[in-house]
């Protein structure tokens, strides 16, 4: 009711103001002095003017006057819940990496696993897979189809070359396509011409974690420019919840380049690439992967007892990886194995774009990528070669239509190898996946993950078409569909329709319907997971004798019959700007998902899930020296009618910046996440509600120097946020930290 009353008040306020328009008459042939008139321009127009001027001439010249609705349309008329992060949102808030700044996006839940893993999820609606949205860097998809996750840390770019991060909450399937289910985020880098000269950014945290970026840009001929950049990130070792070392230290190094050339006034060419290597370790907690078959009730009522309490049964290969005598969880000795997790990746991108005399704007882009990694702790190695070609075009037709269309082809080759890791390397009796029935009585070694002989080549063809139609100045409809034929998702049509209605100069309503697909990951579809081994005593008279029994494998298979997840999404939104320094936005959504995939033994299951929620967002500048931004979101998801708890039902954030002096800013940030449970087949972990407070000062004596000092997570010494479910048993601590950042441009 309060919300409704507020909405009505703002709507009526807008209507009152809307009536007062400037209407002077021009005296002939004498200059009419123009006086500042608050009502001559609407707040939306003023904001848009600020934005256009802020682009700078180079970017202004590349911006279409009439953009594609829901894609590059002016922000305030956009019939979607859009959020844009700028470099200042990272540097002024004390974030090390771009992915951390997503904490400031209402509706997004960003969590830290180990020191090098940040997970971002949006508008929870199904399952325990970490990411069900489309992540892109300069239009290149970076969602890892093997595990259905985004390696957000590794996809980061230096702050100096970051132009913006566009976040679209909700499906944008008709343009973006498969996997743009709960949303899209697209990292957009600056052109090479915009990063001329040299710059260095150094960030150091009190625990020793270090980030260094160097960017150099220059001219290459009369119409060309280039840049090269290097990044070095060193991870300090963190601590697990139990106090044991997380063994997550290591490094990540990356180098990139970009070359831009303007062939003529209307033909642009870009060639860019990046290459990175990461060397870290990852721990596999073995403590609850060996069980004693207690069917006879020898050790109490539980049918399965973790073997960690029975050291005699621990295989001889294990003591080397045994942790200090600490108990995790209480009562169990922790055994763990850690292995190297190298990651080597590189990609090249070439794009040519132009605009014809008839205003047809087009681009043709090609991507080549190679990604290699080895999850040493579970013995899973894979290499992916990927080739993409993407053609897009759009054209205004008359005053009312704007067509957008495109075609894309993608080919992926995988090489997958699974090896038995040392602690797992002892003979067992294998079973038929998903059952306890022995497949053979001959003892064998079985890897934790086994991709087997499943397909390794995947193609995808897609095409989209969208038309935006302006019924009047205030009413616009955009409708379109994406057609895809894919080896992983089959064929399908993803239609979408979005309507934007400017009620008056101060209020816009929008609504949307989209059908979106998500492709099951290769792990979900094809990989057998041997998650535990059970000691089966053979002598009932002597059940605890390690010499009298055998180990039996417990595994669950991938599910190659998994269909693509299909979501019907309904959204409505209201955006209001009653005056230039205050914007408020409300977005409500309902998702109806079929075939939502949930991982965990005994099989990967598909369920029907319904999710409803919304976000309320505001941006307010009460004084010229003080800005406030924030929002809150609420999301309720029901799997087969039962409420899920793996996503915080409530999220909120508040960001305040007070300019103490022209060169000194005091930043305060608060992030709240309600409680949730990390899903796990072995030990679901309850994460209590958490409020985080970050405070910091940023000193900018001139445009070439910035120094920031931040205290992060100041309200408590540490808390937990996330872990790799089903692979780990406890999360790492997210600890209070202090951070110094220095940026210098030469």
């Amino acid at each position: 009711m309060v919300l409704l009353a507020f909405l009505l008040a703002v709507l009526s306020f807008g209507q009152t103001l809307g009536g007062a328009e400037a209407n002077g008459t021009l005296p002939k042939l004498s200059l009419v002095p123009i006086e500042s008139n608050e009502d001559a321009l609407t707040p939306f127009e003023k904001t848009e003017l600020r934005r256009l001027f802020g682009l700078g001439l180079r970017d202004l010249a590349r911006r279409p006057v009439r953009g594609v609705l829901g894609y590059e349309q002016e922000y305030w008329r956009n019939p979607a819940s859009v959020h844009v992060l700028r470099p200042d949102d990272i540097s002024l808030n004390g974030h090390l990496l771009t992915v951390e700044a997503l904490r400031g996006v209402p509706g997004m839940h960003v969590t830290r696993g180990t020191g090098y893993d940040d997970f971002a999820i949006m508008r929870n609606f199904s399952g325990s897979s970490t990411e069900k949205f489309l992540a892109m860097v300069d239009g290149r998809e970076v969602l890892q189809i093997m595990g259905g996750t985004v390696n957000a840390t590794a996809e980061g770019v230096p702050l100096e070359i970051l132009d913006r991060v566009e976040i679209i909450r909700g499906p944008g399937a008709s343009i973006w396509g498969t996997n743009a289910v709960s949303g899209v985020y697209n990292i957009v880098t600056k052109s090479a011409a915009a990063t001329q000269g040299d710059s260095v950014r150094l960030v150091i945290r009190d625990d020793g974690t270090f980030l260094g970026d160097y960017v150099h840009g220059g001219q290459a001929g009369e119409d060309g420019s280039y840049r090269v950049w290097f990044r070095d990130q060193e991870y300090a070792e963190g601590t697990l919840n139990s106090g044991l070392p997380a063994k997550d230290d290591g490094y990540f190094r990356k180098a990139g380049f970009r070359y831009d050339k303007t062939f003529s006034n209307n033909l642009d060419f870009t060639f860019s690439g990046a290459f990175g290597e990461r060397r870290v370790h990852h721990v596999l907690d073995l403590s609850q992967r060996l069980y004693y078959n207690n069917a006879a009730g020898t050790l109490g009522a539980s049918p399965l007892v973790p073997i960690a309490n029975l050291p005699l049964h621990i295989p001889s290969t294990w003591p080397v990886s045994r942790a200090p005598e600490l108990s995790v969880p209480a009562g169990f000795t922790r055994y763990e194995y850690w292995g190297e997790m190298p990651h080597d990746a590189g990609h090249l991108r070439a794009k040519i774009s132009g605009v014809t005399d008839s205003d047809l704007e087009w681009s043709l882009a090609g991507y080549v990528e190679q990604y290699k990694t080895f999850l040493g702790h579970v013995g899973h190695r894979w290499k992916r070669d990927e080739y993409d070609i993407d053609f897009r075009a759009n054209k205004p037709l008359g005053d009312s239509h704007h067509l957008a269309f495109g075609l894309a082809v993608r080919h992926m080759d995988f090489e997958v190898e699974d090896v038995v890791t040392p602690p797992w390397n002892f003979p067992i009796i294998d079973t038929i996946s998903g059952t306890s029935i022995p497949s053979s009585m001959v003892p064998a070694s079985v890897p934790i993950l086994n991709y087997g002989e499943n397909p390794t080549n995947f193609d995808r063809f897609s095409a989209f078409f969208q038309d935006s139609y302006e019924f009047s100045d205030g009413l616009m409809l955009s409708a379109g569909a994406k057609l895809e034929e894919s080896d992983l998702a089959g064929s399908g049509v993803q239609p979408g329709a979005r309507l934007s209605w400017a009620l008056n100069d101060y209020n816009v309503l929008w609504s949307a319907y989209s059908r979106a697909y998500r492709t099951p990951s290769l792990v979900e579809r094809y990989t057998q997971v041997s998650y535990a081994r059970i000691w089966v005593p053979t002598d009932p008279a002597d059940p605890l004798n390690p010499a009298k029994g055998f180990w039996m494998n417990q595994s669950f298979p991938g599910n190659s019959s998994l269909e693509k997840e299909e979501t019907d999404a309904f959204e409505v939104g209201w955006r209001s700007q009653p005056w230039i320094d205050f914007t408020v936005e409300l977005s409500l959504y309902h998702y109806n998902t079929s075939n939502a995939i949930f991982s965990g033994p005994p099989i990967y299951e598909a369920h029907d899930v319904k999710t409803s929620g919304g976000e309320l967002i505001f941006d307010y500048r009460p004084f010229r020296y003080w800005t406030l931004k924030g929002g809150t979101s609420r999301s309720i998801s029901k799997k087969e009618g039962i409420e899920t708890d793996n996503f915080p039902k409530t999220l909120a954030n508040l960001s305040s910046h007070i300019r103490l002096r022209d060169d000194l800013t005091f930043a305060q940030n608060f992030y709240y996440a309600a409680s949730r449970t990390i899903p796990s087949a072995y030990n679901p972990i309850f994460i209590p509600a958490h409020l985080r407070m970050d405070l910091g000062f940023v000193w900018r004596p001139d445009e070439s120097l910035e120094v920031g000092f931040f205290g992060r997570d100041l309200l408590d010494p540490h808390h937990s946020e996330n872990m790799y479910q089903d692979l780990e048993l406890e999360p790492a601590r997210v600890e209070r930290s202090f951070l110094l950042s220095i940026t210098k441009r030469f």
Binding site: L29, L31, F471, A481
Partner: protein
């Protein structure tokens, strides 16, 4: 439409509906629902042009002797039909960004049309910038301001720069760009920044023979 879609239980039916809706949608006439040519598209274009003009002031340099004393204001006149709206757009940017011309405050004026030759000198006497809207394209050649020193003459449409103005702000290929006439600058004792001229994606340099 949403409620209609939700009623479809069968995917194929929904697809047939979507196809039909899209075809119907695409053949909607451009002129339906009383849409006028001006309005939002024109206002959007005005915002782009105003942003360009605000940048352009930064990239242009006047000889001090052609400007009034340092503590005076200088005039910027917007001339043509609908000049008052564009002048308001410009004024917002100038106030908001505290834009000055070599340290002097800028006062924005509007004028309905190019004055006759005998009135012109008097009307524009304190103006350092005159921005001509497209409506004045045909009368531009009659304007003797072409020769006045210290006046940055800018016009909407390529004909202005071709006929002697310093800069044209041109909409072409769904973009807004600048056409700079270096002779137009030098003949008025003005200088244009080489940094601006190097922005090839935003600026085209007018050449008489080209």
């Amino acid at each position: 439409m949403l409620s209609l879609i939700t009623k479809f239980k069968d995917f194929a039916k929904a697809m047939r509906f979507a196809s039909f809706a899209m075809v119907t949608f695409c053949i909607c006439p451009n002129s339906s629902f009383g849409k006028t040519d001006s309005s939002e598209n024109a206002r959007t274009e005005s915002r782009f042009k105003a942003a360009y003009l605000a940048h352009l002031l930064h990239y242009s340099t006047w000889a001090e002797e052609d400007l009034p004393s340092a503590d005076s204001t200088v005039g910027l006149a917007v001339v043509g039909e609908g000049s008052q709206h564009f002048a308001q757009v410009l004024l917002f940017l100038i106030d908001e960004l505290k834009i000055t011309i070599q340290g002097r405050k800028v006062k924005v004026f509007s004028l309905a049309r190019i004055p006759d030759a005998d009135e012109e000198k008097e009307v524009f006497k304190d103006c350092a910038v005159v921005y001509f809207l497209q409506s004045e394209e045909d009368r531009w050649s009659e304007c003797t301001l072409c020769n006045k020193k210290g006046v940055l003459a800018i016009g909407e449409g390529a004909r202005f720069a071709r006929n002697g103005a310093c800069v044209s702000i041109v909409r072409s290929r769904n973009r807004v760009k600048l056409l700079v006439n270096r002779e137009g600058y030098s003949s008025r004792n003005l200088k244009v920044s080489s940094r601006l001229l190097r922005l090839r994606s935003a600026v085209e340099i007018y050449k008489k023979d080209g």
